[in-house]
Each structure stands twice: as C-alpha cells, then as structure tokens.
C-alpha cells in the first residue's frame, strides 16, 4: 500500500482517518515494509468495515493482514449491540474457530530423534488428513447435538482426553449459548465423516522443538525450556463450520436490505446482533466453535495414542488452545470510557488477554494468555503472551500467522512437492502428506516471513514474544 495515504500514530501504528461513510478510523499495526507489502484491498476492506453500524473505536488490521472477503484476514472489529452493532458471517469466515492447540510432550529432541521417521509414519497413519479423508467417529443426532453444546467437554466425557485438558483451553473447552437447532441438516451431513480430521491446505500437525526463548520469566510461567518438544495442531470446525459460513453468508446478503443496511460491499453481509438472524448466526457459530474444540480434542487423543505406541510412557499435556476465526462477546473499554459488552470479530487474529485476566488459566495469569502463532510448513512458529497494552491497542488481539506471499498456482509452478520434502529432510524435518501438489502449494517460500510479523506484533505491544519453535515432524493435509 502507498504509505502517503496514512497518518503515522507511532512507529508501528498507521491510521486511515475517518472519511465519507466511515464511522471510526482504520488502524493498521505494521512496520513500513509490511505495510508497503500489504495489498491495497486491505485498506479498502478496513474502510468498509469502519462504516458498519455500531463499530467501536476503530477497524483494525494486525501485522499479518491480507486481502480477505469483506473483512481483511488479520482483521479485528468490535461492535456495540446497544448501538445497532452487527455480527458478520464474513467477519468470522468459513473456517469458524480455526485455531491452534499446543501440547507439551515432556520429551527432548534426543528422545525422538532415533524414532523420528517411525513416529511421523505412525502419526500419519492415525490422523486423518487431506481431501477425502474420513474420521473414525460417527454420531447419531442426539449425540451430535451434545457435541455441538459440549465442545471439548463432550469429547473428554466420551474418552477422548482428560479433564485436565479442558483447563488449558480458551473458554474452558466449551462455548456457552450454542444453538444446535440453528445447524442445518446439510451442515450436519457435511460433518458426519469429518469428526477427528485435520483438513487440508494450511492445516497441519507438527512436532516442534523450542529453539529460543525471548522472555525467561514468561517462559518459566508457561513451563517452556529450550530443547523441549511440543506438538501443535492447526485446524478448525471442518465441514460443519464451512457449511454454516456458506449458509449464513448468503442469508445475510439477501436480508441486508430488510435491515436497512446500506453495505458498501455485499461481502460485508451482516445482521444486527439483536435481530433474530443475528442471534441465530451467533448460536450456530458457537455450535461450530464447539465442533472445532471437540475436533482438536479428538486429534489430541489420537496424537497421544501415536506417542504411546512409539514412546511408551510419554505424557502429553495440553498447553493451550486458542482460536483465530471467531466473534466473541467480551467486555472492553468503549470510546466513552465505560466498560461495555462488545462483540469482537477476530478474522485471522488471536485473542491476547494480558496478565491477570480471569479468563486466562490461573497458572498463566502472571505472564498473560498464551498466543499461539503458527508458521508455514518448515518455518518457525511462535508462542507469545498477551499484554496489558493490547487492551487499549486492539481489544486484546494479536496476529495469527504469516499470510501467503504468493498464490497457490505460483507456488506450484515454482516448487515441486518432492523437492520441498527433500529440502526439509536435509534440514532434519520429516514431512508426511498424502499430496505432493499440496506440499508444493504450501512451500515455505510461498508465505511471508512469520518472524518479521511476530517481531512487529511484539514491538507494537500487541503481544510479547516468549518462545520460537522449529519443526521436527510436519503432517500436512
């Protein structure tokens, strides 16, 4: 984007002031290089989001922002229901509650190195991944509804995990006020064979080594040390969430005129939070969030089973689970200085509550909420911690990943899947994927530099770096 369009508020905060239909300004957190590299569409989309009814403070973009649909990916926007605020299906996205769960293994590199290939093979055998894969769990209607209201709790009750897992999940592993009756028969059908599946594209399961610590105090609170091995699982609500997003996006487009919403772009399709459609979407979205939590819980248990077979006695504990495609009811500071209940959309952005927040597991409160940032295949991932400053900056939100630097087709033309796998092998990384074309499209060079994104998120005060993780085993869909 052209920098001259912006007012520079600080080294890492750039503003597009209010103009025309904008109700609030747009704020972008980036350095000069990241901002220059962002597509002009990010600015256009932020300006459009800033014009929506009930928006509070600003439409915001994180350092990894890129062109999305309606809202930019890496976008944050909060709406006041008492001021006609809206909820947007496009502002959440198709992959509802896509997120990252990280498990601590208690293992070190030397424990795994001799059986690395075997463990990778075992994981690829146990974790259904890729197009056309199916899970091993089938639910009848009543049980399906229990899953939609119970989330990870439901999964643990059915033997897919341990009660202690739930204490380290956002929302304790279960989102309240889900409406299973708002989930269509098509969405149910689409999920029927997909419980406990990883998906494809940029979804992955990785065994990672803690390679560097930036904040020894926070790392101690998190229980992370250099050389520790962790497992990170990146996936969402699978077919159910995709279908919910599809159906409500269309319904909101058609209904917009009935709500008197004059949308600058139909992709902003939304409904007033306090309307019947808005309420129904929120209920369906929460059910999809529970589906995602249940899915990551099942994958956790499948991972444990694989480790148990290859490394008997290994004990995997949930470190944290946090989503980055959501709309959540939270209390934040409004522009008039009062504390208000707002609906915060985070589309490709991660909640990042600061130290002491009661929504953060007690053991982490001295440091702040863990913020799990997935890199792309073969690159670093990061664990950050939420800050006090994040509340004022971006409703306690941070980035979620790197974002693509080139299209899938460009990537597939530039790299061959087999060479990508061989290059990674030379670096000591085992890659397992059912599709070499998929590997080529996800080549590390096809993504922006996640390290720079995280450095800027840290420098901007959105969240602070705690640990860098490097991949050892990569399982791709």
């Amino acid at each position: 984007m052209e920098l001259s369009r912006f007012e520079r508020h600080s080294e890492y905060c750039w503003a597009l002031p209010r103009s025309c239909a904008m109700r609030v300004p747009a704020l972008l957190y980036a350095d000069e290089d990241l901002l220059k590299d962002m597509d002009d569409k990010v600015g256009e989309q932020l300006v459009n989001v800033a014009s929506l009814p009930g928006i509070v403070h600003a439409a915001m973009a994180m350092p990894d922002a890129h062109w999305g649909y309606g809202f930019p990916i890496g976008g944050v926007a909060a709406f006041d229901p008492g001021d006609g605020g809206v909820v947007s299906a496009g502002g959440v996205g198709f992959d509802i509650s896509c997120g990252v769960r990280t498990l601590q293994t208690g293992l070190r590199r030397k424990d795994v190195e001799p059986i690395k290939e075997g463990l990778a093979h075992e994981l690829s055998r146990q974790i259904p991944a890729g197009v056309g894969s199916t899970g091993r769990i089938r639910l009848d209607e009543a049980e399906f509804d229990r899953m939609l209201t119970g989330g990870a709790h439901w999964a643990v009750q059915r033997g897919w995990g341990e009660p202690a897992d739930l204490e380290h999940c956002e929302d304790g592993g279960r989102v309240e006020d889900a409406l299973p009756e708002a989930i269509s028969s098509q969405a149910r059908r689409r999920q029927r064979d997909e419980m406990g599946t990883l998906g494809s594209g940029n979804h992955y399961l990785e065994l990672q080594e803690v390679a560097e610590l930036y904040d020894a105090k926070a790392a101690a609170v998190f229980g992370l040390g250099v050389g520790d091995l962790v497992v990170s699982i990146h996936c969402g609500s699978r077919g159910l969430g995709h279908q919910v997003g599809t159906e409500f996006l269309r319904e909101m487009v058609v209904a917009a005129p009935d709500f008197g919403l004059d949308l600058p772009d139909r992709e902003l399709a939304c409904a007033p939070i306090e309307s019947a459609l808005g309420g129904r979407y929120l209920g369906a979205m929460r059910a999809a969030m529970n589906c995602a939590l249940a899915n990551r819980q099942i994958l956790t248990q499948l991972t444990r089973e694989s480790f148990e077979r290859m490394l008997p006695g290994a004990r995997l504990r949930v470190f944290y689970d946090v989503s980055h495609n959501i709309c959540k009811e939270e209390v934040h500071d409004a522009d008039d200085g009062t504390r208000k209940k707002l609906y915060v959309h985070r589309k490709g952005a991660t909640r990042a509550f600061g130290p002491g927040n009661p929504a953060v597991p007690e053991v982490f409160r001295p440091a702040g909420q863990p913020v799990l940032i997935g890199g792309s295949m073969g690159t670093s991932s990061y664990i950050l911690a939420g800050t006090d400053a994040g509340e004022q900056l971006a409703f306690s939100s941070a980035c979620h990943g790197a974002g693509r630097a080139m299209s899938r087709h460009q990537a597939a033309r530039r790299w061959k899947g087999r060479s990508v796998v061989e290059d990674m092998a030379e670096r000591g990384i085992v890659v397992k994927s059912p599709s070499l074309r998929g590997v080529a499209e996800e080549a590390p060079g096809a993504y922006k530099d996640v390290t720079r994104v995280v450095q800027v998120a840290d420098a901007a005060g959105l969240a602070r770096r705690v640990a860098r993780l490097e991949p050892v085993i990569v399982l791709k869909g």
């Binding site: 597509d39 569409k41 890129h66 062109w67 999305g68 649909y69 309606g70 990916i73 496009g90 996205g93 198709f94 992959d95 890729g130 197009v131 056309g132 199916t134 098509q186 059908r189 689409r190 029927r192 064979d193 998906g199 494809s200 594209g201 077919g239 995709h242 279908q243 997003g245 599809t246 996006l249 269309r250 487009v253 058609v254 139909r266 992709e267 399709a269 974002g403 693509r404 299209s407 899938r408 087709h409 460009q410 597939a412 059912p434 599709s435 070499l436 074309r437 998929g438 080529a440 499209e441 869909g477």
Partner: protein, 139 residues
C-alpha cells in the same frame, strides 16, 4: 466460443473464472475451474453422475449457489467432478454432473474447497457476447 476457464490471484485463496457462449456455459466452465483448484480435471474419470438444482434471485448468487452445491457434493460424497451439463432458465439452474470418488494417489488433491465467496463475484455478458462467471473460493 468454446468454454474456457482460468484462475485468478487472491491473497490467501483463489479466484475461479469461467467463460462461455451462454450463461450455462460460463457456469459450467467456472465449475471446471473449481475442480482444477483441487486436482487436474482431466484426471477425474466420469464414472458416476448426480443431479443438482439451484434457484437464486440473481445470476451472481446463482453462481455462488451452484459452486456451493458442488462443494457440498464433493465433501459429502468424497467425489471430484469433471463433467458438467448445465441448463439455466431464469433464476433456475439444473445440472447433471459426472465424476468419481477421490483417489488420493492418482488425483493428488492439493486442497479442499470450503465454500464460494462473494469476493470478486461477477457474472456478466461482455460486448462480444461472451458470458463470464467468476468469484473467489475459500480453500
């Protein structure tokens, strides 16, 4: 003109575009473009057929509904499609689509399509009479 399809760039996702002498032809070509997001359409055998019916108030939403119907069938039947016989009459689309179950080894499917978006959504007839149907699909 013959049906033709192509992809166009979008930051994280991918745009599908179909061209044809008729609206039905453009929608058919857009469907082929969507299959090509996942695999080479020429690698998909046409062993099974299913029927699809869509109704929408505008040609643009008809394209979105059509692609989303295919996404749904691909996901629930674990199939890929390469043959699209499409008829359009007013706001109604009827289609017979042919394909086969996913064969991971042969198809090497790169990515699943989650849904058709309203981004870069456009259906129009150009000055030369060619129909164009396009949108971004989320992968």
């Amino acid at each position: 003109m013959a049906q033709a399809w192509e992809h166009f760039a979008h930051g994280a996702d991918i745009g599908v575009r179909g061209r044809g002498a008729t609206l039905a032809g453009a929608l058919s070509a857009a469907a082929t473009a969507m299959t090509a997001v996942v695999t080479d359409p020429e690698a998909v055998r046409q062993t099974d057929a299913i029927e699809i019916l869509c109704r929408a108030p505008t040609p643009e939403l008809l394209l979105v509904d059509w692609l989303n119907s295919l996404v749904y069938e691909m996901a629930t039947r674990r199939m890929l499609f390469s043959g699209f016989e499409v008829e359009c009459e007013g706001s109604v689309l009827r289609a017979r689509v042919r394909g086969e179950r996913v064969d991971v080894r042969r198809h090497q499917p790169a990515v699943e399509v989650k849904g058709a978006t309203l981004t870069a959504l456009d259906v129009h007839r150009g000055e030369d009479g060619t129909w164009v149907a396009q949108c971004v699909v989320d992968v």
